[in-house]
């Protein structure tokens, strides 16, 4: 009888773990699918809320925190034109979620890409005054991301967009950005189905690669 109860307990535990896991996967799959089709600031805010709820129920998972932070950052980017102060407060929230994720998964390359992205968000406050301070930090974070996972296409992609938007005399411009987009493009091609893992950037990279290629022809 004892053995039976022990077996039952084990089965039940396994069952509930599986249920828990499938519930998590289902919720995340829904939320990520929702995020992949977001268009407006309200969509990003709703996505951020959804991921925050999952993150609070699953305190050991870094992925919901990553997506909550990513959604907040994107909400901030859409907010910045109308309300700079609110956008910057939203970026603070994104940073707080990223910090929690970094504590859970300090070796995860994607988190350093997101850190660089958040720093770029901070730049919006006053590009002229903050550029010199923030640019080296952006490159340092992207360097870390590539060092942890040389196959992460989002690191060269983000570096490419940043370089493209940087004035030429600072070492930016289309010519400098092009090899970065090319590198990212190769890595995006190699990237197989990522499922729930971060998979943004492929379309944007193709767009920019085309843009810098036509600029080059134009010159």
């Amino acid at each position: 009888m004892k053995n039976f109860f022990f077996a039952l307990a084990l089965t039940l535990t396994a069952f509930s773990l599986a249920a828990q896991d499938s519930r998590y996967t289902a919720a995340m799959t829904d939320a990520v699918a929702q995020l992949d089709t977001t268009k407006t600031m309200a969509d990003y805010q709703a996505a951020a809320n959804t991921f925050s709820r999952i993150a609070s129920a699953e305190p050991k998972e870094w992925l919901p925190l990553y997506y909550a932070s990513f959604s907040q950052l994107n909400a901030a980017f859409s907010l910045i034109k109308q309300d700079v102060a609110a956008a910057l407060l939203t970026i603070d929230l994104a940073q707080a979620n990223l910090d929690k994720a970094l504590a859970l998964a300090p070796q995860e390359s994607e988190l350093y890409v997101l850190q660089a992205y958040i720093l770029i968000g901070r730049l919006m406050e006053n590009p002229m005054a903050k550029g010199a301070e923030i640019s080296p930090k952006v490159f340092a974070q992207l360097g870390k991301a590539s060092a942890m996972n040389p196959d992460n296409p989002r690191a060269p992609f983000l570096q490419g967009t940043y370089t493209l938007n940087m004035p030429e005399f600072y070492g930016g411009g289309a010519a400098k950005a092009k090899p970065l987009f090319e590198k990212a493009s190769g890595l995006f091609e190699k990237e197989t189905d990522r499922g729930l893992l971060p998979h943004w950037g492929k379309k944007g990279n193709a767009h920019y690669l085309e843009q810098v290629s036509t600029t080059e022809k134009g010159n």
């Binding site: 009888m1 039976f4 039952l8 519930r23 919720a27 309200a42 805010q45 709703a46 951020a48 809320n49 959804t50 925050s52 709820r53 999952i54 609070s56 129920a57 109308q82 700079v84 102060a85 609110a86 910057l88 407060l89 939203t90 929230l93 406050e125 006053n126 590009p127 002229m128 005054a129 550029g131 010199a132 301070e133 640019s135 080296p136 938007n165 940087m166 004035p167 030429e168 005399f169 600072y170 070492g171």
Partner: protein
């Protein structure tokens, strides 16, 4: 036995599946009744929740049962928590969110204050870049401040004059510590520059009155400069200018940074090329060095050291004070040492501490037909402690001690010597509380007490200011307060039985900041009492002077309408009279003009990597005293006009980031007359001969090449994304 267990398990699973889910819905509103969109509503520990829509409405389903906590979060609000009973099919919750008072600091008291802080919640009016790119400023802090309303341009001194106050009524503070000599030493009618580079500072707070009880000893205005924290990176910079050269090296470690720089300027080549009104014997030259050290301690602490040494000299033929048409040789040699050390950090998570000390030594030796050797020293210590009390109060107090010494030997002729030695021991303490009455109203009440051993007197200065947010972008603010200042050492040569000079400020301000538009208008009234005045009978100084100043300042800045363009317009109306010093009757002082206008424009040309700028300044006639006419200060100078331009070209020189900077003042060649100087005695015809006081040269041209070695970036310089 085990059959019944299995049955029970089966039944309970079946029961759980059979129970319908509970629907939770409701509206999210603020306590003030505004709908909140985007709030997160959920049952903590589950995934079940929703986001409120444009009407504040939310709705979601859950399989949870029994009493469960419901939580609502929204940025800038306190978290809302309520137990809900999920045993029914439908639960409706009215959510009322209370605005979080920690975000109340968005309300900043704007009366009398122009902020240029990098603090995001405050209105940025002037950044170091703004100062560098303001055409008329030639990268001088005082020059840029002179384009803000409330200031009166005084080309003859180069100093900041605020709302009818004399130059000494504006005091400069670096990291909270008083700066005894903010300007380079000069002689009357040869303009001085501010000693400090605008790039040392991350924030400039320019107060035109009604400032915090934290600061004292300034009747009119406090210029509060906050230095940069850690240097961003290791760099070496070289500057080659039409007036000299400079070299700077900065080293950055993880938590520390150190900068060392040296510079030498000599105007001789320049004055040789550009015609001068001043007859230079030896044009101004100076040499100096600076050292800046920063150390981050813990997560919140910052320890800072800044020191500078400088020696300068100039020699010219100068108008004789008694017969201005005749010039006599005059030589000025000046030495200055300044050191400032401070610590800022958090103590046991409640108290924020600031502690600092500063030392200044300045010696000016003038030799002419007379000689004057003036040495001033001051040492200062101060601390400030600050903590929030609950959600609605922020409490601050502090104290300071200053030891000053003034030592002067004046020889009007070889046989006469007048010596003055004054020692000051000054102590002050202050308390100040910010009271957040509601999210929309903040009041600040402060009290400052001061004691001067030199005067043997004490004073108590109450100050009160408040701001009321009218809407998302606009607010009204007011300030009243008393401000005391010890008379200048020069007024204490004869005796020290004088009172503190006193000013009472009243001001009302309206401000609207939306996007990249800033509009503000401020009206003020300022009453002076106990100003130093010469007793008409004895000629000795007494504290019987008085005066008033009133006016309106208007400021408009638009960084949006013109693509890549940025402009601001400031206008100040001033009505002032005072009876002080040697005035026989109340009169408008020579430094006051009724109307001041500045129009500043900046534009970025990405195609040629160049920022260009222009400043137009107008000033209505200023008074001067004409002994050939009846009355006092009844003469009026012509109106003043100036159009200055500048350009900064950014490039790489052998792979090193380089800026070529060119600026020119008064390009249209206006006749600029600041006043007239008259002989002390009439000529044979009974007329007092005069000489116009004008700028040292019709134009000032400046060319500089700034190279940053091995770097693509330069601290704080422009990128194409802004301007």
């Amino acid at each position: 036995m085990h059959k019944s267990v299995l049955l029970l398990l089966f039944l309970s699973l079946l029961a759980a599946a059979a129970v319908a889910q509970t629907r939770i819905d409701g509206y999210v509103l603020t306590t003030g009744g505004d709908t909140l969109t985007g709030a997160n509503i959920w049952l903590p520990g589950t995934y079940d929740g929703a986001t409120s829509d444009a009407h504040g409405y939310f709705s979601f389903k859950t399989a949870e049962k029994g009493l469960r906590p419901l939580q609502v979060t929204y940025m800038g609000c306190d978290t809302f928590r309520r137990q809900v009973n999920l045993d029914s099919n439908q639960v409706t919750v009215q959510v009322r969110m209370k605005e979080d008072n920690s975000t109340l600091q968005e309300v900043v008291i704007s009366a009398g204050s122009f902020e240029a802080a990098s603090d995001r919640r405050r209105a940025v009016v002037l950044t170091p870049i703004d100062i560098a790119l303001t055409a008329s400023a030639t990268a001088d802090i005082a020059g840029a401040i002179a384009t803000l309303p409330g200031t009166t341009r005084n080309g003859e001194s180069g100093q900041i004059l605020v709302r009818g106050g004399a130059a000494y009524e504006t005091r400069t503070f670096i990291d909270g510590l008083y700066v005894q000599n903010p300007y380079n030493s000069s002689v009357p009618n040869v303009p001085a520059r501010n000693r400090f580079s605008p790039f040392l500072f991350k924030g400039t707070q320019f107060s035109t009155g009604g400032y915090s009880a934290e600061y004292g000893q300034a009747l009119s205005s406090a210029l509060i400069l906050n230095t940069e924290d850690l240097a961003p990176e290791t760099t070496t910079g070289l500057s080659l200018m039409s007036v000299g050269l400079g070299l700077a090296h900065t080293r950055r470690w993880e938590t520390r940074s150190l900068s060392v720089s040296g510079s030498y300027t000599n105007l001789a080549p320049y004055t040789g090329l550009v015609p001068q009104r001043i007859d230079w014997i030896a044009p101004p030259q100076s040499g100096g060095g600076e050292l800046t050290y920063r150390q981050k301690t813990g997560s919140d602490g910052m320890f800072k050291i800044y020191t500078s040494v400088n020696r300068s000299r100039m020699e010219m033929r100068y108008p004789d004070p008694f017969e201005p048409q005749v010039t006599v040789p005059l030589r000025l040699q000046a030495d200055n040492v300044y050191a400032n050390m401070s610590y800022r950090g958090i103590l046991n998570e409640k108290w924020a501490l600031f502690a600092g000390g500063a030392y200044t030594f300045n010696r000016d030796v003038v030799e002419s037909t007379f000689s004057n050797d003036q040495a001033q020293q001051s040492g200062q210590l101060r601390f400030t402690l600050m903590r929030p009390i609950g959600e609605y109060l922020k409490f601050k107090f502090g104290a300071e001690y200053l030891h000053g010494r003034f030592d002067e030997t004046y020889r009007p002729s070889d046989s006469l010597i007048f010596s003055t030695l004054r020692n000051e021991r000054y102590a002050a303490g202050f308390v100040e509380t910010d009271i957040f009455c509601t999210r929309k109203i903040v009041a600040r009440a402060g009290l400052r007490g001061e004691y001067s051993a030199l005067l043997g007197r004490a004073n108590l200065a109450p100050r009160l200011s408040a701001a009321w947010v009218l809407g998302k972008d606009e607010q009204v603010a007011l300030a009243v307060g008393q401000f005391y200042q010890t008379p200048e050492y020069e007024q204490l040569r004869y005796h020290t039985d004088l009172r503190f000079e006193r000013a009472t400020h009243y001001m009302l301000n309206y401000q609207r900041i939306r996007d990249k538009f800033t509009f503000r208008v401020e009206g003020y009234y300022k009453r002076y009492a106990h100003l130093v005045k010469s007793d008409p009978e004895t000629g000795l100084p007494v504290s019987r002077g008085s005066g008033y100043a009133r006016g309106v300042d208007v400021f408009f800045r638009d960084q949006k309408t013109i693509k890549r363009g940025d402009y601001w317009i400031s206008y100040a109306y001033l009505d002032t009279k005072r009876d002080y010093r040697d005035f026989p009757e109340p009169a408008v002082p020579v430094f006051a003009a009724a109307h001041n206008v500045s129009v500043v424009y900046k534009h970025w040309l990405p195609g040629i990597n160049t920022a260009i700028g222009a400043t137009y300044a107008f000033q209505s006639p200023r008074p001067y005293n004409d002994p050939n006419r009846p009355g006092f200060n009844k003469g009026r100078t012509p109106s003043y006009h100036d159009l200055s331009v500048n350009a900064s070209y950014l490039t790489n020189l052998w792979g090193n980031f380089t800026i070529l900077y060119v600026s020119a003042t008064n390009i249209l060649g206006f006749e600029q007359t600041y006043g007239y100087q008259f002989s002390a005695v009439p000529d044979a015809n009974g007329q007092f001969q005069s000489r116009a006081i004008m700028p040292p040269a019709k134009h000032f041209l400046f060319v500089g090449l700034f190279v940053n070695f091995g770097k693509r970036y330069n601290a704080g310089k422009t990128t194409k994304d802004d301007i």
